[in-house]
């Protein structure tokens, strides 16, 4: 999955929930939205990118990074490849 697009989408989600006054709730809502609407390979792509901390391309917003840090376990759940041989 194109990581720049994934980061852009994650940042858009982060921007929406960043307006919430309760930051803990915002962090939970960002992770919750990604968990509930992103297919596992997309979540895996975002998590891998944040882990690599590549610095290139589109920058991940701080609030998204924080949300991923706090709610990593939930986001990671179910992202293991399914079926037989994978494309990459």
């Amino acid at each position: 999955m194109n990581i720049d697009n994934l980061v852009k989408m994650a940042n858009q989600i982060g921007t929406f929930f960043e307006a919430e006054p309760d930051r803990d709730q915002a962090l939970a809502d960002i992770a919750g939205h990604i968990k509930r609407s992103w297919e596992p390979r997309m979540r895996r792509g975002l998590l891998d990118h944040i882990d690599r901390d590549s610095g290139g391309g589109v920058q991940v917003k701080d609030i998204v990074i924080e949300s991923v840090r706090v709610h990593r376990e939930s986001l990671q759940q179910g992202t293991q490849p399914a079926g037989t041989k994978q494309a990459h």
């Binding site: 999955m1 194109n2 697009n5 989408m9 858009q12 989600i13 921007t15 929406f16 960043e18 307006a19 919430e20 006054p21 309760d22 939205h33 509930r36 609407s37 992103w38 297919e39 596992p40 390979r41 997309m42 179910g78 490849p81 399914a82 079926g83 037989t84 041989k85 994978q86 494309a87 990459h88």
Partner: protein, 964 residues
């Protein structure tokens, strides 16, 4: 089978709750106060002769055929204009009345050609019938005097003729155009003997303002206005109730048939969505169903550069199934998916998502609502608790203020627009929020009280500024909020919207909306008129198709809750759905994260329910959305697609990106009635069935489930649901249904909002608005009456975030896209009808200021370039546009409107941002490179469909694309 005959009560129904009792011909009858004698007589079982009266129109009292006698009163009043009163004794038959009626009829017939046997409406003509009823036996005046027999027909309209020689000047057509349609295109010109129906200023119909809705044809009691199909084919021998397959209004129709051929489609009077009205698409543009371009044989090919090979159904289905299984074995379970169609029935969309979840074993199912109303599903679910509009269409009859945001109903939802305009003519106030001066802003007898002409992409700023005004000017419905909404969320929201940064003055520079106008419009929305406070919001794709589409939907729900405008008639939040079954396809679990009934796939209880019924283990993680499928195809992890009834290559944004994704897949299976743009990238083609060829149901924008009825056998041998069943079986997952009613029974057994739905009940009630269950056995016209579906309504903060599509020196204009009345979506249907006479190509509309700056004249070819691509269209200079904003439609594939649109999408749902693309527009002399390439590719693909090799080396399709 027989013709369905509806009773014409002559005058409209009165809605009064007070009854008056009278006698008609000795029969006592009680009717609502305000009922005219003509209608009261029908209730008493008496049909009074009439010509100028019909129950869809206000009484007119011109034909003098419906005269009656009333005990104790002098004279012979017209029963159509005389209200029933308590104690009246009415006599409809007497020698004097018979004399009077015969005299009137004699005058009519003296100027009417007596060619009944060769007349297209012979046997179905009210004049003929009433001449028989009144017992006319002679015309004493003869036929030699002045008459209109020689007047020429107007055959300019492609769908109906106007024969003035048959006209009795009853005014029904004129009144239908005014009252029913609201276009005011017709009038009566001349006086006395010279009186004739006149479209526009005595112009041919096609040159007038007529929008070809057919209301005049429907209202005509003679052969003056007649469908050309009736003239050509004769009258039908039977009729069947079904539902239109065009927009989200979901009009009920009588398909009038001769054997297996449609003679005409007549709007069904008892259809609750349309109540006897229609538009040019549903009424007339159905010829595509039998167009020569219909593809009727299954076909396969290894590469998209190969000629198509016709094969049997079994071979095509086994080949598709084999390919899908091969791909899954090689690339993994999640490497394939499906897209179902809002143009197909509920039962068909349900089956496709079932096939994906049960036979593919993943959740990679999506639907075209992704690119239109997915933000509606998200925004309304979060705030109100249900992913659907809150009202019936007829609710607008009770609205005092109507707020239309990002919708152009006169073009995209014309039958509802007629209803809305009628309400405005009755006095309701109208606020339009739209970048363009759409028809509702100013049209005959309609003028919006406020037009907030915002810049594209600033919806959230406008809606939040309206909330600011409501909060800071003390316009909140505090009692409603305290009782019905979450307190903490409301407090946080109130603090947010009250910030000075959200005021109309602060946002004016971004939105372009004068603060004073926004404040005044908001006060009108929040407070109503003279104590009448019902305010209703209607919105469309101008709201959803933005990077903040979901945020605007949330903002709209906030406005309705803040002012207490939810939970009764005349108010509410009303998404105007794009295609006929957008609501239904979403209801049926067509999103990759939701099972039928909007239940998340992670919900174990729901999953268990389906697992038990379907006999499989279901995945608990969401699948890929359409744009995610394209992304995954690009990166090599998505290799196979089953696409039923959608044309993603034409309709989805950034065409080049989509076609590259298509070419990266190893097996694309397209099921459609035509070789659409997507099929040109397919390896398996499965022919589809039109809405006339199958049974099922559609669910319209008001949650109304209506029957779609098979009126002819599927031309390709199978209805679409049968093809999905066969594909599932070929994949090794057993499906067995004898009739779509069994599929609905399964849906009802698994979906709490549908438990009371069955074909038998739809038949009994005519249609059903869900939820329909034990709590609401006859359905739910108005939602959230005593409480919100989610319990308490939830206010959510709507921070405005400007889109990434910003104007620059290189791209100084904003392009927004939309629809026009006569064409529908990708145009696959309407382009194959005479509707091309109304609109034969996509054009670019721009303001005179922008045109002048660039040296562009009306009709010039102009190149439109965005960051995504370039295309060329003809320009039309239009004051409907504001400077800096240009507009086009996307009905013709060769236009390449979506070559220009970008990958930007809604933050919550990935709904594309069709409505905002930064572009430059310049005069050009030739088509764009993409258009030239498209022309070559299209020619090649059409040749391949004929079974011959491509006439020239493949151009864009020369990638190494194999089916394995």
């Amino acid at each position: 089978m027989s013709m369905i005959q509806e009773v014409d009560y002559g005058t409209p129904r009165s809605t009064s709750e007070t009854l008056v009792t009278l006698e008609v011909d000795g029969v006592e009858v009680s009717v609502p106060q305000g009922t005219m004698l003509m209608r009261a007589a029908v209730d008493a079982g008496v049909m009074i002769p009439k010509l100028c009266a019909t129950d869809s129109l206000e009484p007119f009292g011109s034909c003098r055929l419906c005269l009656v006698e009333i005990e104790g009163r002098k004279g012979y009043p017209a029963s159509c204009t005389t209200p029933a009163e308590a104690g009246m004794k009415v006599r409809t038959q007497s020698p004097k009345l018979a004399d009077l009626r015969r005299g009137v009829m004699e005058l009519y017939i003296s100027d009417h050609p007596l060619d009944c046997l060769t007349c297209p409406t012979n046997g179905n003509c009210e004049l003929q019938t009433q001449a028989g009823v009144v017992g006319l036996r002679e015309v004493r005046y003869g036929f030699e005097g002045a008459n209109h027999f020689a007047e020429a027909k107007d055959e300019s309209n492609p769908y109906f003729t106007y024969d003035p020689s048959k006209c009795i000047v009853c005014n029904r057509c004129v009144r239908a155009c005014e009252e029913t349609q609201g276009t005011f295109a017709l009038t009566i010109s001349g006086r006395g003997f010279e009186s004739r129906v006149s479209p526009g200023q005595s112009q041919p119909f096609m040159e007038s303002e007529c929008v070809s809705c057919g209301a005049c044809v429907n209202a005509c009691p003679t052969a003056t206005l007649t469908e050309k199909t009736i003239v050509a084919m004769g009258q039908a021998d039977h009729s069947v109730i079904t539902t239109c397959a065009y927009c989200g209004v979901g009009c009920g129709f009588k398909a009038e048939m001769k054997g297996n051929e449609v003679v005409r489609m007549v709007p069904w009077k008892d259809g609750r969505a349309n109540e006897g009205h229609a538009c040019v698409k549903g009424r007339f543009a159905w010829g595509y169903a039998t167009h020569k371009d219909r593809m009727l044989k299954p076909m396969i090919r290894a590469k998209i550069t190969d000629p198509w090979q016709e094969v049997s159904w079994d071979e095509a289905l086994n080949h598709a199934a084999g390919e899908f299984r091969r791909i899954q074995a090689k690339y993994g379970r999640d490497s394939i998916g499906a897209i179902n169609s809002s143009r197909c029935t509920n039962e068909e969309t349900y089956l496709v998502q079932k096939l994906v979840r049960a036979a593919f074993g993943n959740n990679n199912i999506d639907t075209c609502a992704r690119v239109c109303h997915s933000p509606t599903g998200y925004g309304l679910k979060q705030t109100l608790g249900e992913s659907a509009g809150t009202q019936t269409f007829s609710s607008v009859d009770h609205a005092d203020v109507i707020l239309v945001i990002g919708a152009n109903p006169t073009d995209a939802h014309p039958v509802f627009a007629s209803r809305l305009k009628k309400r405005v003519r009755q006095g309701a106030k109208l606020i339009v929020v739209d970048p363009r001066t759409i028809e509702l802003v100013s049209s005959p007898h309609i003028k919006a009280d406020y037009h907030l002409k915002l810049r594209p992409g600033t919806n959230v700023a406008v809606v939040t500024a309206m909330a600011h005004v409501i909060v800071t000017e003390g316009l909140l419905d505090e009692a409603f909020i305290a009782e019905r909404c979450e307190a903490k969320a409301f407090t946080e929201w109130r603090e947010f919207v009250a910030r000075p940064a959200n005021s109309p003055e602060a946002t004016e520079a971004a939105t372009g909306v004068p603060a004073a106008d926004l404040r005044a419009a908001t006060r009108l929305y929040a407070t109503g008129v003279d104590g009448h406070k019902n305010a209703a919001i209607y919105y469309g794709l101008g709201v959803t198709e933005h990077s903040q589409g979901s945020t605007t939907v949330i903002g709209i729900a906030n406005l309705a809750m803040a002012t207490g405008n939810v939970g009764r008639e005349g108010v509410g939040v009303n998404p105007l759905r794009g295609q006929n079954n957008v609501q239904g396809s979403c209801d049926m679990g067509s999103f990759p994260h939701e099972l039928p009934g909007y239940r998340h796939v992670s919900d174990t209880t729901t999953r268990n329910l389906f697992e038990q019924h379907w006999g499989v283990t279901l995945q608990s993680e969401p699948g890929l959305r359409i744009p995610n499928m394209f992304e995954a195809a690009h990166d090599g992890s998505f290799k196979g697609l089953y696409c039923q009834g959608e044309d993603i290559v034409q309709s989805d944004p950034n065409t080049q990106h989509v076609t590259e994704a298509m070419m990266a897949m190893e097996c694309v299976v397209v099921q459609d009635i035509f070789l659409n743009e997507t099929a040109k990238y397919a390896h398996v083609f499965l022919p589809g069935a039109s809405f006339l060829e199958k049974d099922g149901t559609f669910t319209n924008a008001e949650r109304r489930i209506s029957r779609v009825t098979k009126v002819m056998p599927p031309k390709c041998g199978k209805a679409d649901w049968e093809v999905t069943v066969a594909l599932a079986n070929a994949l090794g997952y057993a499906m067995h249904y004898d009739h779509p009613s069994q599929i609905m029974d399964e849906i009802a057994s698994l979906t709490p909002t549908f438990t009371g739905v069955s074909y038998a009940k739809i038949e009994q009630l005519g249609s059903i608005q869900w939820p329909c269950n034990d709590k609401a056995p006859e359905g739910t016209p108005t939602m959230h009456v005593d409480g919100f579906v989610r319990g308490k309504g939830k206010f959510i903060i709507t921070q405005y975030v400007p889109t990434d599509e910003k104007v620059t020196r290189k791209y100084p204009l904003l392009l927004t896209t939309g629809r026009i009345l006569s064409q529908y979506n990708v145009g696959a249907q309407t382009r194959r009808t005479e509707n091309v006479q109304f609109y034969g190509e996509d054009i670019l509309e721009l303001h005179s200021h922008d045109a002048e700056e660039r040296g562009i004249n009306n009709g010039d070819w102009v190149g439109i370039e965005s960051r995504a691509g370039q295309t060329v269209l003809r320009a039309t200079i239009s004051e409907r546009m504001q400077p800096g904003v240009v507009y086009t439609t996307f009905h013709f594939p060769e236009s390449g409107a979506n070559v220009i649109t970008t990958d930007n999408s809604d933050w919550a749902t990935n709904c594309p941002e069709y409505k905002v693309t930064a572009v430059q527009v310049m005069p050009v002399a030739q088509p764009s490179e993409w258009q030239k390439s498209y022309q070559r590719f299209n020619t090649e693909q059409l040749a391949l469909a004929q079974g011959s090799a491509a006439p020239a080396p493949a151009s864009r399709a020369n990638a190494s694309v194999t089916a394995g």
